[in-house]
Amino acid sequence: MNVPRPRLGVFKFASCDGCQLSILDCEDEILAVADRVEIAYFLEATRRPLEGGFDVSLVEGSISSPEQIDQIKDVRERSKFIVAIGACANGGGIQGLRNFISIEESIAAVYANPSYVKTLEKSRPIADFITVDLELQGCPINKYQLLNVIAQMLVGAKPRVPDHAVCLDCKRRNIVCVVVSQGKACMGPVTSTGCEALCPAHDRGCFACYGPSHQPNTAALASRFESIGVPSDQIRRFFHAFYSTSQEFVAEGLRHV
C-alpha cells in the first residue's frame, strides 16, 4: 500500500504533560506505526518546528490564558481532525478547581508576585473554543485507548470511544466491588470507562478522573455515599476534582457543602 502517511501533531496547553507521557509510554507500539504515521510535531519528543497542516492533532491541556485562545484556533485551522486528550482538555482538569473560587483568591494563594500572572477567569475545555472531533478522557489518558483510536483511524473506521460506567469493566475484570464488600466510596458507577477500572483493581474507590459516564445518576450515588458516612465536603470534592466543566458533576457537588 503506497498511501501518503498521515501527519500527526501533538499540542500542549495548560496541563502537567501527563497525557503526553502516556504517548511517550507507547514507544514500543509506536514503532509499529512508524512507517504509517508521520509524527510531524511533538515538542515533548522531537524538536521539529511547527509547520504546515496536520491530518490528526492530539491536544492536551485546558485553555487557561488569553494567548492560548489564539493558539488553539491556529491548531484548529491547521488540523483536519482534532482529538482532545485528557481531563484538562475535556473537563478543565485539576487546575479547574480554581473555577469554584474567585481568580484573585487563587492567584494570591499560589503566586508570590501575582502582578506577572496573565490568566483567564476559568480553566476551560478545548471544546469551548473550537470544534473538537473526538474526546479521550482521563487523568491521564489510557495509552491503549489512544492506540486503539489510532489503529481504528488508520483502517478508516470511525473511532469508537465508549462512555459507559467504570463498573462494567470492573466486572469484566472480576474485581470485587469495594463499595459492597468494604463500604468504600467509589465513583465508578457515574464515571466514564477508559481506565479498565484501575483503582478498584488496586482495592480503592474510583475518584472519577475520566469524568462523567453517559447519563450519570449522581444524586443516587451521592445519597449512597451519605449512607456509608462520607462527609459532605468530601462528596463535593469527589464531584469537583477533575471535571469542573461537567454540569452534572458541578451541580451534584454544589448540593454537598
Partner: protein, 375 residues
C-alpha cells in the same frame, strides 16, 4: 418433591473423611483438570484456582444484605459454610472477554482464522443448586437454540461439576421460592453434603465415579442420609427472601407503565453490576480491534448489559434512552420475556444482584411492589 427422600437419584452415595477431599482435588489436577472453586480473596469469597484443600475458605463465612457483603469468621472449621459470592461459573464457561476470530489482510485477499486456543478442562468444585440451574439456563441459550456457540460448548463439554448442598443461605438467597434450590437435584457429577467430620458424596455420573475410584470411602448409613437431608431442609427453612412467581410474566406485561419504574429509576445507577454478577445474563458486545500495523484485526466478544446505554443503540437512535426503560428491560427480561424465550425464568434466586448492587436495589422487592399495587 419430597425433600427428605434418599440422596442420590442415581448411583451410589458414600462417605469420605473430610481431608480426603484433598485427595480428590489432587486426583483432578493429575487427571488434567483445572480445579476452580471458592477461595478467599481480600474482601470476599471468590471463585479461583483451588490447588489444595487449604485454598478453600475453611472457617470463613459471609454476611450479606442488599448492597452489602462482609467476610466473617465462623466458629467451626466448615469447608463450605458460606453462600454464593460475587463470582459465578459464568466467568469460566462464558468468559468476560473472548477473541472469536482474527482476520489477516493480504495484498488482494484476507484470511479468517477462528480462535482455536486450547480450552482448559475445568473441574468446578462447590457449585450450589442455584448455579446448577443457571448453567442449565445458559446451556439453553448457547447450546440448544438454532445456533450453537462453539466457545461455550468447548468449555461446557469438558467441565466436571462437583456440587455442594447448601448448609447456609445468605439473607439475599431466595432459591427456594424459585424452585431452584437449596438442594441440588441434577446437573452434577458429584454432590457433597458437609457433615461434621465427613462428606456425604453422591456419585451421579460415570465421570464422577472415575474420580472417586480408589479414594478411601465407605457406604453411607441411613442415619447419615437423614442427617444430610435435614441440613438442606434447615437451610430452606432459614431463607428470608422470596419471590412470588405466580402469574408473574403477565403481571409485569400488564404493568409496563407502573409508577414503580420511575421510582426505581431514581435510585438505579445503571451501573450494570446486577447483570454482570447474574449467572444467567448472557448479553455481550462484539468489537473489531485492528492491529496497529494494519496487517490484521481481531473480533472480540465482551460481556455487555442492558444497563449500558450503548447496548440499545442502533441505527435511528437508542431504544432504551433512560434508566427507567433500562431497569424495566432487566426486570421484565429476567422474570417475564425469558420465560417466553427459554421456557424458564431467567432468575434462579441466587441473590447476587441484590447483594452486589452498589445501592442495594432488590429484585424481589421491586417485583413485589408491582404485584402489591396491582392487587
Amino acid at each position: 418433591m419430597n425433600s427428605s427422600a434418599g440422596i442420590a437419584p442415581t448411583g451410589e452415595t458414600v462417605v469420605i473423611e473430610k481431608p480426603v477431599l484433598g485427595a480428590i482435588i489432587d486426583r483432578l489436577w493429575r487427571d488434567g483438570y483445572t480445579v476452580v472453586g471458592p477461595t478467599l480473596a481480600e474482601s470476599a469469597i471468590v471463585i479461583d484456582q483451588v490447588r489444595a484443600i487449604d485454598d478453600l475458605p475453611i472457617g470463613w463465612t459471609d454476611e450479606q444484605e442488599a448492597g452489602m457483603y462482609r467476610l466473617r469468621r465462623r466458629e467451626d472449621r466448615a469447608y463450605f459454610g458460606y453462600a454464593v459470592g460475587p463470582h459465578s461459573w459464568k466467568q469460566y464457561l462464558f468468559p468476560p472477554k473472548t477473541t472469536l476470530y482474527s482476520i489477516e489482510f493480504h495484498a488482494d485477499a484476507m484470511t479468517v482464522k477462528p480462535n482455536v486456543d486450547p480450552v482448559p478442562s475445568y473441574a468446578f468444585l462447590g457449585v450450589r443448586s442455584c448455579d446448577l440451574h443457571a448453567i442449565e439456563i445458559q446451556d439453553r441459550v448457547f447450546l440448544h437454540g438454532p445456533y450453537v456457540d462453539r466457545h461455550y460448548q468447548a468449555r461446557r463439554e469438558k467441565a466436571l461439576i462437583i456440587a455442594v448442598h447448601c448448609a447456609v443461605a445468605a439473607s439475599t438467597c431466595f432459591c427456594a421460592s424459585m424452585g431452584t434450590g437449596p438442594r441440588s437435584v441434577r446437573g452434577f457429577d458429584l454432590a457433597l453434603t458437609e457433615l461434621e467430620g465427613e462428606f456425604l458424596v453422591e456419585i451421579a455420573t460415570p465421570r464422577g465415579a472415575a474420580i472417586c475410584d480408589g479414594i478411601p470411602s465407605r457406604a453411607a448409613t441411613g442415619y447419615e442420609l437423614g442427617a444430610a437431608a435435614r441440613i438442606v431442609d434447615k437451610t430452606r427453612d432459614s431463607m428470608k427472601r422470596s419471590l412470588n412467581t405466580n402469574g408473574l410474566p403477565d403481571l409485569l406485561y400488564q404493568n409496563l407503565e407502573h409508577p414503580r419504574w420511575d421510582q426505581v429509576a431514581e435510585r438505579c445507577l445503571s451501573c450494570t453490576n446486577c447483570t454482570m454478577v447474574c449467572p444467567t445474563c448472557f448479553c455481550h458486545a462484539l468489537e473489531d480491534v485492528p492491529a496497529l500495523d494494519g496487517a490484521s484485526s481481531e473480533k472480540i466478544r465482551q460481556w455487555d448489559s442492558c444497563f449500558n446505554p450503548d447496548h440499545a443503540h442502533m441505527a435511528g437512535g437508542n431504544n432504551r434512552p433512560d434508566i427507567r426503560s433500562r431497569y424495566r428491560q432487566w426486570l421484565t427480561h429476567k422474570l417475564a420475556s425469558w420465560v417466553d424465550q427459554y421456557g424458564v425464568s431467567g432468575c434462579v434466586g441466587c441473590g447476587r444482584c441484590v447483594t452486589w448492587c452498589p445501592v442495594g436495589i432488590d429484585i424481589t422487592e421491586e417485583a413485589a411492589a408491582i404485584r402489591g399495587d396491582q392487587q
